[in-house]
């Protein structure tokens, strides 16, 4: 009998969290973009925020299997937290502002999660959508604080670390700031999904009944995961509001929630880097399609989605993984 840990399966499990060399690529590309395209940093900032938002969705959808159409509720909660605090002159410091955005979004996630996560499937999907619609309407009605349909613009955001101004025309500060925040959140999510907790989330995704039968507190785990994901989405929303000095009802809308879902499905869910690939693919594609067919560019995107849904359920990264996988040799011990 061999030592158990010598077994390839045990070694794979013991080492799967190790950093692989290719994992540096997205970060090097993001840094390269900063130097190569100084005129497109506005686009780059938007892209990085989208990656962060998609990453928050990957945690709940890709790992825990919570099907949600309401993720923008937390993005909006974060964005309005930053927006209202800045507009009222209560809080304009960006980093602590993000922490407040995360806390508010997490509170919304915890509150709604405690109710929503009693349900599953279609009911859950509809309830997440309803929660978001309720928040959107509340923001619309609370005109005095949120600016209603017009939103809040020209938000006074204090310089980063007291030194670096957010300049809307030359968003160099914004780009690097978002990149650093994305990196920190990514490290957090990556640590989480490779932990025993992350493993139990996969278990819940794969078979909830069995998780009950092994004694796991399933609902508690789901609510915790949902809350953490909400906090990250709140950071994405908060940083979006800071970078644009602007917040509007669109941050809470179905458009944003559906787009991030499309991005994650396009890139590949439950794979961490699907958020990156999906966001880049989606934003580049829509950019060029809009140039070629200014009136009907969404048609091309729609067709692509149909193809992905029919033939590549696991998105672009799923295709890459399938190409890279040779037929597994049958293990004989």
């Amino acid at each position: 009998m061999t030592e158990p840990l010598d077994h390839p399966a045990a070694r794979a499990l013991a080492e799967r969290h190790r950093l692989r060399p290719w994992e540096a690529i997205p970060w090097l590309l993001a840094l390269g973009f900063y130097f190569a395209f100084p005129k497109h940093l506005g686009f780059g900032t938007e892209l990085l925020v989208t990656v962060l938002f998609a990453l928050s969705l990957d945690l709940v959808l890709g790992y825990a299997g919570i099907v949600t159409l309401g993720q923008a509720a937390f993005f909006g909660a974060g964005a309005y937290t930053v927006g209202i605090l800045a507009k009222q002159g209560i809080w304009t410091e960006p980093i602590t502002g993000l922490i407040l955005a995360a806390l508010v979004a997490a509170a919304v996630g915890l509150g709604s999660g405690l109710v929503l996560l009693r349900t599953q499937g279609l009911t859950l999907l509809m309830l997440t959508l309803c929660t978001m619609a309720l928040l959107e309407e509340a923001a619309n009605l609370a005109h005095d604080y949120t600016g209603g349909f017009d939103g809040l613009d020209s938000l006074p955001i204090a310089p980063l670390l007291g030194r670096f101004e957010f300049n809307p025309l030359y968003p160099t500060t914004q780009y690097l700031y978002v990149l650093v925040v994305l990196f920190v959140c990514f490290v957090f999510v990556r640590t989480l999904v490779y932990s025993p907790f992350g493993q139990s989330l996969r278990g819940i995704r794969e078979n909830m009944l069995r998780m009950h039968a092994v004694g796991a507190p399933v609902r508690g785990r789901l609510v915790l995961c949902y809350t953490l994901s909400a906090a990250i989405a709140g950071i994405a929303g908060g940083i979006w509001a800071q970078a644009n000095a602007y917040v509007n009802l669109g941050t809470l809308g179905l458009d944003r929630a559906a787009t991030v879902l499309i991005i994650l499905v396009l890139g590949g869910h439950g794979r961490l880097y699907g958020a990156f690939i999906g966001a880049v693919a989606y934003m580049v594609l829509s950019h060029f399609l809009a140039k070629i067919y200014p009136t009907a560019w969404q048609l091309g995107l729609g067709l692509l989605l149909v193809v992905i849904a029919l033939f590549a359920r696991n998105g672009i990264l799923g295709i890459v993984a399938a190409l890279g996988r040779r037929p597994a040799p049958r293990a004989t011990s």
């Binding site: 390839p8 045990a10 499990l13 493993q199 139990s200 009950h212």
Partner: protein, 251 residues
Amino acid sequence: MSAPLLETRALCRNFGALAAARDIDFRLEAGARHALIGPNGAGKTTFVNLLTGVVQPTTGAILMKGRDITGVAQAERVKLGIARTFQINRLFRRLSVLENVYIAVAERVGAAPSMFRPAGVRRDVVDESMQLLETLKLSGDAARRISELPYGRQRLVELAIALALRPEVLLLDEPAAGVPSAESHIILDAIDGLPRDIGVLIIDHDMDLVFRFAERITVMVSGAVFATGSPREIAADAEVRAVYLGRTGHG
């Protein structure tokens, strides 16, 4: 006399007008090899769901080692030592065999809530999972996904997950169901090899399996206990033969 490992007293469960469990008095002793048989719809699976806490009884009580656990939630009963397998596989299909067992071991030893250390750092959990796979002769498949395994091997993983919980009471719901006869010896051997201190209740239709394995048999009909006795007594019981064994064309 000490209290039995698991006991039910006048356990009843109604689904609307249907009495799925009627006044069930049942005892499972420590280290028992007990079988529960009965025709389709006799309430066997409802009884398992009552014991594991998936379904709450309408009236009656469930006791473990003399302690009333009727109101104890499913997850808590697992911690108390009640584990089960399912009639139809409920596995983590897109995960490896090792990961399937890891999840169960991690829950038992309390490693699962840990969020900031990699799963592989818990060598104790990985080691124990691997050792369990060795005892069930599954280690050759440890790296394969469940969906790549033949059904018989999947049934073994079903058993491995339950054993990973180190149960005192093990409820096996038709452990060999759906397994081709060429592979069923794998399951039977594994059941024969179960640790002797576990109290095992096996629910099955397969008379060969039941009579090979059980030291005590309970027959259920229409939600109620019809007869309990040794395999010899049950096989000789004319009424049991009439309502159950006779119908299946056995004996």
